[in-house]
Symmetry: C2
Subunit: 349 residues, 2 copies
């Protein structure tokens, strides 16, 4: 089963909220290689939408610097790795624009203009910013770029006149902030220069790391899209199941069981998965049998991705060409939007 | 006496702090026509430095929007007016670059990068920002662009690799903030990518409005560079002197006397001005005689400026051409700096 077919079987629900006229902006911070959590949470949906809507994947390298300007070199190295991940899973650059944020000067110009339309108090009230500030322990030492990143995100979204933005529900305040800016620009222009956008909420629960904690490269608990068969085996074997399920004959818990979370996300045969859940709950199904099934499912998913990735990685020039061409196309789009927004601010265009 | 010769007689002190290798960045917010306060406080010094150092006058239209995005149309209209003022007083676009901030995309890009190098707490502590926030009554509703404007100013200064920035002493914190950013960029780059800058403090006291309050277009108490002879006469007649000096024979106060402030700033014959001060203090010199002298001095200064301004105003295409050519030159300069700063952030260049 190819990645693309699987994508269609699982992303139906999300996809149904998108019209053919929708313009989608999404992307990733290039802070590390993508893993199966990204595949289940976003890449699969992008594949399903590819060719149905205009879609841009923005590699947000500037945003990656807002909370850690010190790791600039690391971020720079990850940009082509993210492109490789995109191409390997089946993103087709002739259908989906892949662009690098820092190459689009119009986005910086829009950010600087929009900063005049938002108060500091409004930014500080943004729940996503508040939560992240707490998480990162910034307190009073928030980098100004971090406080302002909802404005930069509004620049990204409006720079492509995006109407649909795939987000987690923790990111809904970002959509709200963007639409406030859109309305203020349109009021300045006395015209509908920019469209409002709506959130495309994922119906997929967040895929946990193999230890049940949040998947993260730094914790080593995520399964990379480039994982070898051995790595997949090792990580599946290490998966957290139900500590109370000591013998196969014991009844086991499905909720919070990482193996079932992955089967739910990736097993093409959900009927069988549901039967296995029943047997596991009742007792009589061992962890090892389940893990062997999952290992097969993941290897079938990852093997073609890994192979394509390895092949593409040998052709650096092609990867760079995809980035260049996509960024050029995105540049044309965002410069046209900038002209309209400059008009709203009575700046020459 | 031409404006240029007068400039040399009065700007000696400031000028002596500038080396031939210095790069000067200065400019104005295009919020209204320039007046004699600008002439005494900055234009004269720019004329004296013209041809001695590389000098750019940046018309800061984006900065004018940071505290009033609602008056965008007004700001846009003022841009060519400021150019007319520059040209009329003797700024020579072949020696001094005149550029518009909003046409230099590199400045927005530098701003967005630098925002990552400064904390919100640091910006809130900036005494200039604090004072202005109080003055404008923003309290918690500070536009984010206003809080961030020291960063935008650092982008302007470093975008030209300026080494010398004419400022009032209330603006010294801006220079300090810029140099903090310069050091952080150089540390990121492990190289002296950007030069530190120093303040060029004015030795001229701020010229008051005719009523003794701060000169401001909205108060109608400033003498515009384009004032007619009648307007000059009316404004000089209305000047605040010494309310205790009712008769010519009474002793009068020189301090706080607006007529003497203007004579100090503009009378080419300071020896006579000092003699007049003695006579005024001792009693026996009437306000009317003094005002007639000042009227003559100001008319001699303004008449050629007014004539040149009127002539240039008929050739809009030339003014636009000056702006276009200057902005293009500035664009080349600032893009080169942006490439270096992008390198410091490991972004492709």
């Amino acid at each position: 089963m190819s990645a693309n077919i699987l994508a269609h079987t699982r992303a139906d629900e999300r996809q149904s909220h998108a019209d053919a006229t929708d313009v989608i902006l999404t992307g990733d911070r290039p802070t590390g290689s993508l893993h199966l959590g990204h595949y289940a949470g976003s890449l699969r949906s992008r594949l399903a939408l590819q060719g149905r809507c205009a879609q841009t994947l923005l590699i947000a390298d500037l945003q990656a610097l807002t909370d850690s300007s010190g790791r600039a070199a690391h971020v720079a190295r990850q940009v082509p790795e993210v492109v490789l991940d995109y191409l390997a899973v089946g993103i087709d650059p002739s259908q989906t624009t892949i662009a690098v944020q820092s190459r689009l000067s119009a986005l910086a110009e829009l950010t600087v203009l929009y900063l005049n339309l938002v108060t500091v108090a409004r930014l500080e009230r943004n729940p996503t910013v508040k939560a992240e500030v707490e998480l990162r322990g910034f307190e009073r030492d928030i980098p100004a770029g971090f406080l302002c990143y909802p404005v930069s995100q509004a620049a990204d979204i409006t720079g492509f006149r995006a109407t649909l933005v795939p987000v987690g529900d923790d990111q809904l305040p970002m959509i709200e902030q963007t639409n406030e800016i859109v309305r203020r620009v349109n009021r300045l222009a006395s015209a509908a220069v920019l469209p409002e956008c709506r959130a495309l909420l994922s119906s997929t629960p967040r895929l946990p790391g193999v230890d049940g904690r949040k998947a993260s490269k730094s914790l080593g608990n995520a399964i990379p899209l480039s994982a070898t068969a051995d790595e997949i085996r090792g990580l599946v074997r290490a998966m957290y199941t139900d500590p109370g399920h000591a013998r196969a004959s014991d009844p086991g818990r499905v909720e919070g069981n990482v193996v079932f979370a992955y089967l739910d996300a990736f097993d093409p045969d959900l009927t069988t998965v549901n039967e296995l859940k029943e047997r596991y709950r009742g007792g009589g199904l061992g962890d090892m049998a389940l893990k062997r099934r999952l290992e097969g499912v993941l290897e079938a998913l990852v093997a073609p991705i890994r192979a394509r990735r390895a092949e593409l990685a040998r052709d650096r020039a092609y990867v760079m060409d995809v980035l260049r061409a996509g960024s050029e196309r995105a540049n044309t789009t965002t410069q046209a939007v900038l002209r309209d927004v400059r008009g709203a601010f009575a700046l020459d265009t």
